[in-house]
Amino acid sequence: MNVRAMAAAVLVAALAVVAVGVGGASGGSSANTLTVWLQVDAQSGWSEVVAAANAQFKAQNPGWDVDVQYQTWGTHLAKFDATLAGGNAPDVIEMGNTEMTKYSAAGAFQDLTAISFPNKSTWLQGLAASGRYGGKIYGVPYYAGSRVVTYRTDLFRQAGGKIPQSQAEFIALAKRIGAKNKAKTFSPVYIAGTDWYVAMSFVYDYGGQIAITRKGKWVGTLDKPAALAGLAAYKRFFEASSRAPAGSNEGTPPPYDVMAHGNAASTYGAGWFTCCVGDYKSKVAQFVMPSHTKGQPIPGFLGGSDLAVPVGGSKDKAAAWISAFTDNASMTALRAKGNIPNTTSLLGTSVNERAARKSWFVPQSKNWVNVENGNVLRTMLQRILSGRSSIKDAASVASDNITYTLNQ
């Protein structure tokens, strides 16, 4: 076969293929399209809420269309950075509440202070704080999730049954459960060693904090007595109830999987864990994690998302869409799916919501994300739980690291 003809044919075929591709995939969007970036949780969990908001927006703004592009948690910030550099950022973006401050401080978002959003006066404090920076509002609270104890009713009943009202009671219960289930991989309360969301809850429970501002500068405070007491309490609790390795994290394996395998009697994690405990689905219930003070709940970490408007987007239209997406109807629907709504006016008494009433949040510094990405807290916890360092030493190192990083 004539080689040159073959090469030419291949080239032509390739160009034809590309032409089809070019024609087929639409790259551009019309001038009156609102681009919205939501996380994929909305697509799989409450797509009808999104659809309702879109319909409402389109009815109120004739000539406008909405293009919702779903993103994943691992990569959406890198993609956001690229669009900021390229000048085609979306009009609305969903940000994790711990991610907001860094971008607000860098000037990535437009000022929304003047706009009256639904339920603005009753926004959930823990969530609204993350959307504020320098006295201005850059993010509208979207929804939240708190942490609760998910437990096996049969195993708890076997060991005495009473819901613990304090950490001391919980430790005693865990020991009793452990005595009745001696398998090497079984944890009465499965907690991953480096789950800093849990560990810091203990720290805040004793009045400690991760960092405070003094004269405009950040100071890490994990080496102060209150925080050290909290860390010691965490170590006591972990050693009594969890067989997870010191260096394990709460993602791998997921705690609900551990319960599904029959390797845990309970775990302290997100409220939606009950979906995925396998055969034990009918045998689990939840309660609020207690404080070391009897009868009080432990301060829980309030995870959640905010909605922001990046620079370069159409502020008024974006705000209109956000209002449609966070109004009472939407919030009621979100609450029905097991989420915590953004307004106290709709807050109910489910275990998830009760746990959210007392919460703590990370230091609101633009450099906090760097502390998280450097795994400073996780390294500290691994050192403490494996016995490689004393609590005081590990906390000192972490505290110095935090002071340095937050003041960059």
Partner: protein, 316 residues
Amino acid sequence: MTVAAEAIAHRSRRRPRLKRIAHASVPYLLILPVIVVITAILGYPLYKLVTLSFQQYGLAELIQKKGVWIGFDNFSSVLHDEVFWRVLLRTVIFTAANVGLTIGLGTLIAFLLVRVSTWVRILLTAGLVLVWSMPAVVAVQVWVWMTNFENGILNYVLTELHVGDYTGHDWYGSTFSKLGMVTLLIVWGAIPFVAITVYAGLAQVPRELVEAAEIDGAGPGRVFRDVTFPVLKPIFLILTSLSIIWDFGVFTQPYLLIGSSAVDTSNYLMGVYVFIEGYSHSDFGRGAAISLLMLLIVAVLSIFYVRRMVKMGEAQ
């Protein structure tokens, strides 16, 4: 110049000038498409990479599209960071281990492919392609699952085979163990390419030359040395140089297998280090500086093989 080439050269000298120019321009025309594509797409990014490395360029600067010139500050800050040097040493050792294992095991499998029956060869080749076709991100997910301490199949198999009691064993407990797992994953994923390429190279060894050597009385060892290896040499040089380049800068496998929650200064490899220090922290100027340093280092590491490859071209 060889006889045939000389004959052609003679003929071209007798041809008119225009034809000679046309002939001389042939190689340039051949490389033109590559140059056009690469310059159009990569030209600006390369320029940006160099200029960013001399600037203070964080998230705020990215949004305002304007950086602050700070000369060599990024480079000196990186070179004075002891973490950088520790990570460099760790990565060099890691690269040496990975490249050695990949090329060694891959070549052995290629020779194995030659020696087995046809049906085994087809099975093994299909297996290699299946391994090769797994996207890295998926392979990591499967490995994380197979090696997790709680119910991973690896612990189960080792315990069942009475190698020891591996119930609940944490394969990611120590830095050596973490990097060992990463090495296993990377070598596993890289073997198919090496095995299939070396096997393709073996197929290029012309039968008559082998037979001619045989008739001259050469045993298998000498046949390999005199006939097979010269054909394979450029292929080995390519594979080694590519492996060094890839393994030095690898990011996906260590970052995902060790986990974004567990990577820290005690187990950074260069690819992860540049991602965290530069892009995760949104310090793009620093990231660019580290990228250029990595380019320099990997060039030095692979210079031996690269020079050989370039020189081989000159002998033609």
